[in-house]
């Protein structure tokens, strides 16, 4: 954890001002550091702030959102403070994004070969011919069958898995320092998903990039992340080394996420409140209190800080779980 971090997020608050109500906070004091080459998994449900974090890292918080406090430093620079032109030189080159829905997000009227080639052309200063050759090499590298023919294909002519490979190729053309994968495989069939994930992992390792792997599916992270961070309602509730996390999760929400995959209904029942409610907890309390099976009076009054625990986890809970069963 010590040493030069490629990504340094400190006490990051992102708020969405709203006309009638109080400002909604998508991120509430996120702290996260990623070392070069590290793969960190960020797990959370929809609306927990995962994507906002990704956008904040790129310096592209969607309007009307604003960074209210804290900072994001990528390679020591604050991308949000850079001018558009300066930021553009970093995005796609040093910091690349793998998107979840490539057939909607690739340009529908441009061949995929051209779209990969564009990255090399505009970021690496390659000639068009070199860029096309690089693009073809990338198509081979992501193991797309018949790459010469696929080079001239349009996104709608590719399968979801194939399009996802194209997106990985686009992300890795410039050998970035950090790859953010935002729910990248959620739209794929499970078997294809495994292949694409393997590919992403191999390619990222080859290029020596760090990865922020954002997902709703905690099972995916187990395979290749070095650390796992669990985010709930804009806060990181637990962060730990992968092995230790899966062996002994400490936060009730982490356990709930893991229990959801369990074959043991009793375990699921034990960690999920029967009267499941997503109502916001009263101000000042723990954000998870309303859904927590271990809720105590103190949880409703006092928000817990993220505290290091004996097992090397950092946990945001007054009563971290000692041994999950």
């Amino acid at each position: 954890m010590s040493g030069r971090a490629i990504l340094d997020v400190a006490d990051l608050w992102v708020g969405f001002p709203s006309y009638r109500q109080a400002t909604q906070h998508a991120l509430r004091g996120i702290d996260m550091r990623i070392a070069p080459g590290e793969m960190i998994g960020l797990v959370g449900e929809s609306g927990s702030g995962k994507t906002t974090l990704a956008r904040a890292v790129m310096g592209l918080v969607p309007p009307p959102g604003v960074i209210e406090r804290g900072h994001v430093l990528f390679g020591g620079r604050n991308l949000a403070a850079l001018g558009d032109e300066e930021r553009r030189k970093v995005l796609g080159r040093e910091l690349a994004m793998v998107i979840p829905n490539p057939r909607a997000e690739l340009n529908p009227v441009q061949t995929v070969g051209r779209q990969i080639s564009n990255i090399a052309f505009y970021h690496l200063g390659a000639t068009r011919k070199e860029a096309d050759r690089i693009a073809l090499d990338m198509l081979r590298a992501v193991r797309i069958p018949d790459p010469e023919r696929r080079f001239a294909a349009y996104p709608h002519e590719l399968s979801g898995g194939m399009a996802q490979r194209v997106v990985i190729a686009i992300a890795l053309v410039c050998s970035p320092k950090l790859v953010i994968s935002d729910d990248a495989t959620s739209g794929l069939d499970v078997t294809v998903q495994a292949q694409v994930l393997d590919l992403l992992q191999t390619m990222v390792r080859e290029k020596g990039a760090a990865t922020l792997f954002i997902t709703r599916d905690i099972a995916i992270t187990a395979h290749f992340c070095t650390r796992i961070a669990v985010i709930y309602a804009g806060e990181i509730v637990e962060i730990a080394e992968t092995r230790s996390f899966f062996a002994r999760p400490r936060h009730p929400y982490s356990i709930m996420l893991l229990a959801a995959f369990s074959h043991n209904p009793a375990l699921r029942a034990k960690w999920t409140r029967s009267e499941e409610s997503r109502r916001a907890t009263a101000a000042g309390g723990c954000a998870f209190a309303a859904r927590c099976v271990r809720r105590q009076p103190r949880c409703e009054q006092e928000a817990p800080p993220l505290r290091p625990s004996a097992t090397g986890h950092e946990v945001r809970c007054h009563f971290p779980v000692e041994a999950a069963a």
């Binding site: 558009d84 994004m97 009227v109 564009n118 505009y122 686009i170």
Partner: protein, 336 residues
């Protein structure tokens, strides 16, 4: 191959479409009250001579057989005769359609030249004077009648400033028109290298084209603005930004994706203006096809009206076919 088959099928469909158009317009035109025989012979004509004339023109037969007769002639390329000009309608229309097409083609080109860049600028800059100007322009162009703008322009540039020749027709009476090649006097004068004819026809063309251009830039502006705004906010543009592509490249991609909608609005305007430019034609005594058709309606001269409908229908069908081919070129998803 695929494309050729598509075009072939489209052209095949033109026949039933034309039949339907002629069927509907024939009976609609026949519903218009007015007796051409009275118009031709005057109010003092005897009942007997009126009846003879009606009989000669075939108006005493049942409507159905009149229709069959008309269809029969149309298939041979005969659209009948106009009693006003005493010429075959086909001949009249071939004289007048180029005038209308010249007017609306240049008018729409000007409208695109104004509306397209302004729409893009307004879509990019959500605030500021350009956006304000575009908003007001769209509103004004939509609210202003074209004939009124034409009259204002004539008042300013002819009556007051006297910069342009009198708004009567397409070329000065004293100037010999160039030999017909394209039907557009401006282009034909250019081709013939006839500077006198060029300056005269250009001088006559400029105000009606300005009128149509200024008015029709409104819808093109609005369409460009809203579509480019939408594509600029679309997923693939956001992704292109995340990939750090230069701004101008992203903008170009967004505009490229907006082109089909803009082509659509331009083609709709073109089809509409074939008949819709008639008020401007009248103000400038342009002698175009729309004017000819309106004269026909006013004087119970049925054949010019029907002939105009057939001509515009064929023209519209050609335009829509061209537009579909353009879609093919613009959007690979259409190629299937």
């Amino acid at each position: 191959m695929h494309l050729l088959r598509y075009i072939g099928r489209r052209i095949l469909f033109v026949i039933p479409q034309l039949f339907g158009i002629i069927l509907v317009s024939f009976f609609l035109v026949k519903l218009i009250p007015g007796d051409p025989a009275v118009m031709m012979l005057g109010p003092t004509a005897s009942e007997e001579s009126l009846h003879d004339l009606r009989d000669k023109m075939g108006f005493t037969k049942p409507l159905i057989s009149q229709f069959v007769r008309y269809l029969h002639d149309v298939v041979r390329g005969d659209l009948g005769t106009s009693w006003q000009t005493t010429q075959p309608v086909t001949e009249d229309l071939f004289q007048r359609f180029p005038a209308t097409l010249e007017l609306i083609t240049f008018g729409l080109l000007l409208a695109i030249a104004i509306g397209f860049p302004l729409g893009i600028a307004a879509a990019r800059l959500k605030r500021g004077p350009v956006r304000k100007f575009a908003d007001y322009y769209g509103l004004l162009a939509g609210a202003m009648p074209d004939f009124w703008l034409a009259l204002v322009l004539i008042y300013v540039f002819y009556t007051k400033l006297n910069w342009i020749p009198a708004p009567l027709g397409r070329i000065d009476m004293a100037v010999v028109p160039p030999p017909t090649v394209t039907g557009s006097l401006v282009i034909d004068s250019l081709l013939a290298g006839d500077l006198d004819a060029l300056s005269s026809s250009f001088g006559h063309l400029i105000l009606p084209v300005l009128t149509l251009g200024l008015i029709n830039a409104g819808p093109i502006l609005k369409m460009t603005q809203s579509t480019v705004e939408r594509t600029l906010a679309s997923d693939f543009v956001r992704y292109a930004e995340m990939c750090g592509l230069p701004r101008r490249v992203v903008l170009r991609q967004a505009i490229r994706a907006a082109l089909p909608s803009i082509v659509t609005i331009v083609s709709v305007l073109y089809g509409f203006l074939i008949g819709g430019a008639v008020l401007v034609e009248i103000v400038f005594s342009w002698g175009g096809a729309g004017q000819y058709a309106v004269q026909g309606v006013l004087n119970a001269d049925v054949n010019p009206v029907l002939g105009f409908v057939v001509f515009s229908a064929v023209l519209s069908l050609i335009i829509y076919l061209l537009v579909d081919l353009l879609y093919f070129a613009l959007d690979p998803r259409m190629r299937g």
